[in-house]
Amino acid sequence: MVNVPDFTSLSKEQAAANLARRNPSFYNRYAGKDDEFGFKLETFAMWEPVFRFLYEEYFKVTFHGLDNIPDEGRALIVGNHSGLLPLDGAMVAMAGVNHCASPRRIRFLATDWFFGIPGLREWCMETGQVRATLDNAEKLLAQEEIVGVYPEGIRGVGKTFRERYRMHDWHPGFVKLAIATQTPIIPIATVGGDEIFPNFHNGKTLAQLLGMPFFPMTLTFPWLPFPMPFMPLPVRWIFRIHKPMDLGYPPERASDRKLVSRISKEIQYMVQKDLNELLRERKSAFSGWED
């Protein structure tokens, strides 16, 4: 029997106290500090149990190479994007909070669309997401934070089920950023995310009408009443984290487009290779890699 945490009746203060008790090193590291991008530890503490439940009980996430996330200093996490609702980022963030030797806050660069919706905008900011601009990324890295980027962009999230685990070409901007700021890159391959919300069709007209990046049609999405479409399938997830890659080029080379696109491709191909390998070894989506 899974123990579903009680996260409905808590106040923000209680939630923060719970987080401080359960994970003191994370709490002490980030408590009482002002954040220019609007991170609020209380809001984070309130939502953390929800995602911890998804991580530990529901998706039963496995991480390979979690010790490759550094204890201190900046890093740029890049990987394949998936899953309509970008839960893959949330899972990586959960691993950073609960499962690293030295708990880290991993901040993802999120697309503008989230920041255009009144309620969602505040929620994203308070849980640690940052609007994706080059400026913001440089500021975050200057503050020695870990920044997560999905170079596939919003196209990657909207992959249909038949395209699962087939990546779109990456935008090479992240390599440029890494070289300019001398940041190591940590590639991550994610298997599981593309199957939690099987998407059969991307409606273009409706999406344009509603100003959404895409309008997915899943087994549940536009058909069932509110909370049900947001129930993901209990797929097993696996993450493979590579060693931090120091690119070793001086900052001047950041404007060398040929070099940047070559490195970006190499990292993209590395992640795609991991995806192919992990998929081949998998027994089934719901039982994962064990028998």
């Binding site: 395209e163 990546m167 070409d169 491709k265 190499e266 993209q268 191909y269 590395m270 290779k273 998929l279």
Partner: protein, 271 residues
């Protein structure tokens, strides 16, 4: 032989100069009609990017294997042979050791297959030939249908002769064979018993009698030759191996990315 000699005059002129006792123009002339039928009418191969091959000098083409036999190589062979501007002969490096039947072995040698080993590869490059290879090996050709168009990892040791001699390497992505010959499973114990590299189960093999069991579904093939990637090679052995590893990863990724793009384009078109 007569119409063949007329249509393929340039090709014959070019190939005739090469001194290769295993190769036979008569055999090529004999299989030309069936090949043309397969290429033009059955698979309706849409091949783009041939202009990316250098017109002179040696070149290595690496492709994704699929569909049990190296059909992609045979189709490319026909395409290169009937190319109007630069007709040429394609040598396909493949593992032929498992073939016991003398006639089949000779037939494959006569149409341009060459047994895979580093010496043969180096000899062909030194002669300035166009060579094709499937670095996935037989594991790649025996992909079950569920894994279609997911490239297996390239064996970098296969690329060593080319990298050592700094031969340009052109990746070729082929969409089609994995669905033309849908394979259910590979019965390994039976393959071992019969000393075959694999024993595939398809919709027709081994159930139907001979010519019918190699039946291929008329899938439309798409083949794309991609940009050859330039690479630097050092002098020492370590540097060469390092470069070959990097190349293997990059070529594999290029082909997989192109397959993803082609599949996506096809999904869009169907709707």
């Amino acid at each position: 032989m007569k119409p063949f000699a007329v249509t393929y005059r340039d090709y014959i002129e070019k190939v005739g100069k090469v001194n290769d006792s295993n190769f036979s123009l008569e055999t090529i002339a004999r299989v030309e009609r069936p090949l043309a039928f397969l290429y033009q009418d059955w698979f309706k191969v849409d091949l783009q990017g041939l202009q990316r091959l250098p017109n002179e000098g040696p070149v290595l083409i690496v492709g994704n294997a699929g569909g049990i036999m190296p059909w992609a190589g045979v189709m490319l062979m026909y395409a290169l042979m009937s190319d109007k501007q630069h007709p040429r002969k394609l040598h396909i490096l493949a593992d032929l050791d498992w073939i016991e039947d003398e006639r089949l072995y000779n037939f494959l040698r006569e149409i341009g297959f060459v047994p895979w080993n580093a010496d043969n590869a180096k000899r062909l490059f030194a002669e300035g030939q166009t060579v094709m290879m499937f670095p996935e090996g037989s594991a790649g050709a025996m992909k079950p249908f569920a894994e279609r168009y997911r490239v297996r990892s390239f064996d970098w040791t296969n690329l060593l002769p080319a990298v050592e001699m700094k031969i340009p390497i052109v990746p070729l992505a082929t969409l089609g064979p994995d669905e033309s010959f849908p394979m259910g499973a590979n019965i390994e114990p039976l393959a071992k018993l019969l000393s075959l590299p694999a024993f595939p189960l398809t919709a027709t093999f081994p159930w139907l009698p001979f010519p019918m069991n190699i039946f291929a579904l008329p899938i439309q093939w798409k083949m794309r030759a991609l940009k050859s990637c330039d690479y630097e090679v050092g002098e020492s052995r370590d540097e060469i191996e390092e470069s070959a590893k990097r190349q293997a990863l990059f070529l594999e990724g290029e082909i997989q990315a192109e397959l993803n793009r082609m599949l996506r384009a096809r999904l869009r078109k169907v709707r």
